[in-house]
């Protein structure tokens, strides 16, 4: 299931009518072109969820993508808590089409690489997205990081690491960070066993309302036809 927030916006309203920063648009197009080579893929991986109120194991997953924007994550066994916004990291869909202004955010350094910051501002007033910031590595035409600020659901952040599938613009690791609401069960409802132990010392560094999902991906099978049923 895809959360119809900023994703939809990107899907529907991409347009390259930016007034400023011609070179940034060129860069963006280059990134887009690279991603366009991938019509579909299937990949295996693991997903680790780091949320204070979810004590869940690392799960084995399978990821599927099909142009223009279909993404599906499935766990190979057991129960899974799949982050709804995670489908956003499908960069193909972000850049496939759109109606936004492109602003040059200047140059910066990220993980000791020189990168270019590109800001995308939606033109549509009713868009749920306020702003998307992309951190692009210019010489490789890949996106290292994106921050999307929404009107209602806080900020979504993607950090990507590339290795084996760099030419396809497909990351080996994605760290997806977002805001969550407080989780609270009414006390007493569960008759819990109070073992008198102190709270666990290793409180997640992220705090209560931050969630982080780390996905490691391997074995991409690119441009092999994928049945439609998978995305249902």
């Amino acid at each position: 299931m895809i959360k119809p927030t900023f994703l939809m916006f990107f899907l529907l309203c991409f347009s390259a009518h930016s007034v400023h920063a011609q070179d940034v648009e060129v860069l963006l197009n280059a990134v887009k072109k690279k991603l366009d080579k991938v019509n579909s893929y299937e990949a295996e991986g693991t997903m680790k969820t780091n949320v204070s109120f979810l004590k869940i194991p690392v799960s084995s997953i399978k990821m599927y993508f099909k142009k223009p924007s279909k993404v599906k994550i499935k766990t190979t066994s057991g129960l899974s808590f799949l982050p709804k916004g995670a489908v956003q990291f499908n960069l193909n869909s972000i850049l496939s089409d759109g109606d936004y202004m492109v602003i040059d955010g200047g140059a910066a350094t990220l993980k000791s690489s020189s990168i270019r910051i590109v800001k995308l501002l939606p033109k549509n007033e009713s868009s749920p997205i306020v702003l998307t910031t992309l951190y692009i590595l210019p010489e490789q035409n890949i996106i290292l990081k994106s921050i999307t600020t929404t009107k209602e659901n806080g900020t979504y952040e993607l950090n990507m690491t590339y290795q084996k599938y760099k030419e396809w613009g497909l990351p080996d690791q994605i760290i997806f960070a977002f805001n969550t609401k407080d989780y609270k069960l009414p006390k007493g409802i569960t008759f819990d066993f109070d073992d008198g132990a102190a709270k666990k010392k290793s409180k997640p560094a992220l705090g209560n309302k931050k969630a982080e999902v780390l996905i490691n991906i391997k074995n991409y099978v690119i441009n092999k036809p994928i049945a439609e049923e998978i995305f249902k």
């Binding site: 109120f53 979810l54 869940i56 899974s80 709804k84 073992d195």
Partner: protein, 297 residues
């Protein structure tokens, strides 16, 4: 002694009241299972609340046999003490009421033996009842709902969270939990037997046991800090839910559950020791008073 135990079990087996417990357990479990078959999703939605805003979760997979059994035990283990008291509270007093205690004590059997046999019979009854619960609440739930990873919804101090236990890591926890429950319920039965020493009718000790359990449980769950600190540790009912400790899986620094682990084994062990101490004390008192008791019935 073995012979006497056989007789005692024979008596329990011949009494219609014994089967109330089994029917009651099956009925409660069945109601739960039917309710969850019909509308388990809304329960799961309630428990998952706003988690659903950020995460996709297949509720139908979460409502599986393991989860069902946990939910059922949660409720059932509050009521089962009543069923155990029903049998154990009758142990001495029921015989006194019928007049058979008098007859039995004119036979060459020591009073210690009689208490020991009654106690063992009640323990065996408890084991059989728990075995029955394992069949209907666990195995039958697995049959109805399948087996998958298990979710534990938990509140600790001010913190609420969800723990996930891999399905291949669940079964031993249930074995341990049922074993713990056997010890916990034996506290109830030894209390009921102790009370039944003083009475010549079975209603008194049964009702008193149930009242004590209910009263203590209410106090144990008041969540008033003063009581939590000063009174709760001294109530045996606070330790009855210790079986849950076997489902509190330890987590890594980053919050991932560690298979085959327990979050706080020392706490479970201490609770077990507290319960065992209660059993020893109740049993000894029962023996002491029964040996001094004049049989006037």
């Amino acid at each position: 002694m073995i012979n006497l135990l056989g007789l005692e079990l024979y008596k329990i087996a011949r009494r219609p009241r014994t089967y109330i417990a089994f029917v009651a357990v099956a009925a409660i479990v069945l109601v739960f299972q039917l309710a969850f078959l019909a509308d388990g999703e809304s329960y799961m939605s309630l428990m998952l609340q706003n988690v659903k805003d950020n995460f996709d979760m297949e509720s139908s997979k979460a409502i599986n046999g393991y989860f069902m059994c946990y939910i059922i035990l949660n409720t059932l283990l509050v009521q089962v003490p009543i069923l155990v008291a029903l049998i154990a509270g009758d142990a001495i007093s029921g015989e006194a009421n019928m007049g058979t205690l008098r007859l039995m004590l004119t036979k060459p059997i020591s009073r210690l033996n009689i208490i020991a046999v009654k106690f063992t019979a009640a323990f065996i009854f408890t084991l059989v009842l728990l075995f029955w619960m394992a069949i209907v609440a666990l195995l039958f739930s697995i049959f109805l709902f399948g087996a998958d990873d298990m979710l534990i919804f938990r509140v600790r101090s001010e913190e609420s969270f969800i723990m996930q236990i891999a399905k291949d890591d669940v079964m031993w926890r249930y074995f341990a939990a049922f074993a713990y429950a056997a010890v916990a319920l034996t506290v109830i039965s030894s209390l009921a037997i102790l009370l039944s020493v003083f009475s010549d009718n079975s209603i008194g000790p049964i009702v008193t046991t149930v009242c004590i359990v209910i009263f203590f449980t209410i106090i144990s769950n008041l969540n008033v800090p003063v009581i939590d600190k000063n009174i709760k540790p001294f109530l045996f009912t606070s330790y009855l839910v210790g079986w849950k400790g076997f489902f509190y899986i330890n987590t890594s620094e980053e919050g991932q559950p560690i298979k085959q682990s327990l979050e706080n084994w020392p706490a479970i062990r201490n609770s077990l020791l507290v319960l065992l101490t209660h059993i020893v004390v109740f049993f000894s008192l029962a023996v002491y008073f029964f040996r001094k008791k004049d049989i006037l019935s």
